[in-house]
Symmetry: C2
């Protein structure tokens, strides 16, 4: 059976046609920065047109940035979409735009985790934590082979575990969360704040007014810029604490770490997180593995297609 | 149907006969400090004799201190039993001593959590975390109404979540775990270390060479002893961080806090933990409750009986 998977990101909408565990074709468009729910739905429908339309398609899965009520297809909050949306009824609206075709919506970190579990680095794991290090830090949980969404759709939010009590302010308004140390937006804020306070650094020099991309980070690290080294060390340490906490609480066998920053820095970054995890976790005889994600930036769209297929078969 | 529940503790073995959600009778003996596995099994068999024997009894459940392989009935490590046991085949040995009667073994924090979920403060919760603050800090997880044991039987170990990175040394050998701040053994070590370093305190004065009991803590707090106040503040803060982490990661609706210290300090202690949790958790709209356990020191034995009944019906 053929499914469409959509990765609805803050900057682009990426879609794939997925059949028999393979991508048949893909397409992308820019995420609208204004226009509200209608603009987002129209852009997704446009990507689906680019993919060849819905002829022979069983349904559509969408991975969305923000907490999702999976049963209702509603995205609770998406500050990065079309100027900021709340209670966005994406599933019903997109289904209507597609003439009633079934549409299933889930959190982007959840579908990425599902993809890595079914097709990527987490294949064969019974229980799995996916950690997504990007603009923010997201996570997804697989228990006994199935996504664990939690009562309100918030399960897996490893980015908002406390890494440092009363530590650096997180974008969510609380202190010391993992995302405040390991999310790219927060790391960029910190690098700029240090420059403003007199600690000039390569990160700010290279990025200028622009976005501090993964390649800016890579170059600053190659030059052994002390601020870049310090900020990455703090990110590794925060991620190691959070992963150790999750492994200890849930007795997990596999942790997959992905996302833009991870893909750029590769196995060394993940190896350091694994070491920081082992240094802090309780059960030292546990064979828990911390491994890099293997599907790159296609994991979200693949996972969205897989999630749609699973949701359809379980209803 | 009638079941026996046994709470196998480091100082006493407490047993109940449990029928139709009521305790019919109870009994206790001292836990042997030497004699190995045989002495522990003989003491439990003695308590069962005191309870009236196994006539009409469907089976026995035991809550044991340490990680348990539930399927095999084996306790991995129990440093507090009979001079220290490893890979203690409690289930098979006790069943043999009882002429083949079914025996089910689980971790003490797990069965306590089950009891609070079925009969106590966590009644009606779909997902539940139980936190047990005693000599150490234990925990248990209920998901979708069932105990979550994890792959190796270690799930729920909230006492070994990192509360303070690179913080106080935990009994398990790692730094900064919750138990290092909120477990009574560790708090006592810390109070004595501070006295030895010149910070005389009421805790050490009241306890002398003896054990620093819950009532010693209560008296020192009433006297506003600064060391006692500081140590309890750190315990509340560590527990709040760990509970916030678990709630954020798992999207839990209910957290029950019990154990000796909690029973002594009551709702104020738990209310402070709830506040510390709310201050650090991500989803502020979550209706998560943190409540005191309600079954007191019978929760372990009741939970062991309930666990046995559940295990029998699921096999």
């Amino acid at each position: 059976m053929t499914w469409i998977g959509i990765d609805l990101g803050g900057t682009k909408v990426y879609g794939v046609v997925h059949h028999a565990d393979k991508i048949k074709t893909d397409a992308k468009r820019k995420t609208p920065t204004e226009g509200g729910p209608d603009a987002v739905v129209a852009t997704i429908a446009g990507v689906i047109d680019d993919l060849g339309g819905i002829d022979g398609i069983k349904g559509v899965g969408v991975g969305a940035p923000g907490p999702v009520d999976h049963a209702a297809g509603v995205v609770g909050q998406a500050p990065n979409l079309a100027g900021g949306l709340r209670d966005f009824a994406l599933g019903p609206l997109l289904s209507k735009a597609l003439g009633g075709l079934p549409v299933y919506v889930d959190n982007d970190a959840n579908v990425g985790t599902l993809a890595e579990h079914k097709r990527g680095a987490g294949k064969g794991a019974v229980d799995l934590l996916g950690v997504w290090v990007g603009t923010g830090v997201g996570g997804g949980l697989i228990f006994d082979g199935h996504l664990r969404r939690g009562r309100t759709g918030y399960a897996g939010e490893i980015g908002h575990i406390v890494a440092v009590p009363h530590g650096r302010l997180c974008g969510c308004g609380h202190e010391g969360h993992v995302e405040a140390y390991a999310g790219r937006a927060s790391m960029e804020r910190e690098a700029r704040a240090r420059a403003a306070a007199g600690r000039t650094n390569r990160l700010v020099e290279l990025a200028g007014e622009g976005r501090m991309t993964s390649s800016v980070w890579a170059k600053a690290l190659e030059a052994r810029d002390p601020v870049a080294v310090e900020l990455i060390d703090s990110a590794v340490s925060a991620l190691g604490t959070a992963v150790a906490d999750a492994v200890t609480l849930l007795d997990l066998d596999t942790v997959v770490v992905g996302g833009g920053l991870t893909d750029r820095f590769g196995p060394t970054f993940v190896g350091r997180i694994e070491q920081a995890t082992r240094d802090q976790m309780f059960n030292q005889s546990s064979p828990t593995r911390v491994v890099p994600a293997s599907l790159g930036d296609q994991s979200g769209a693949i996972g969205a297609a897989l999630m749609a297929a699973e949701s359809a078969s379980s209803t």
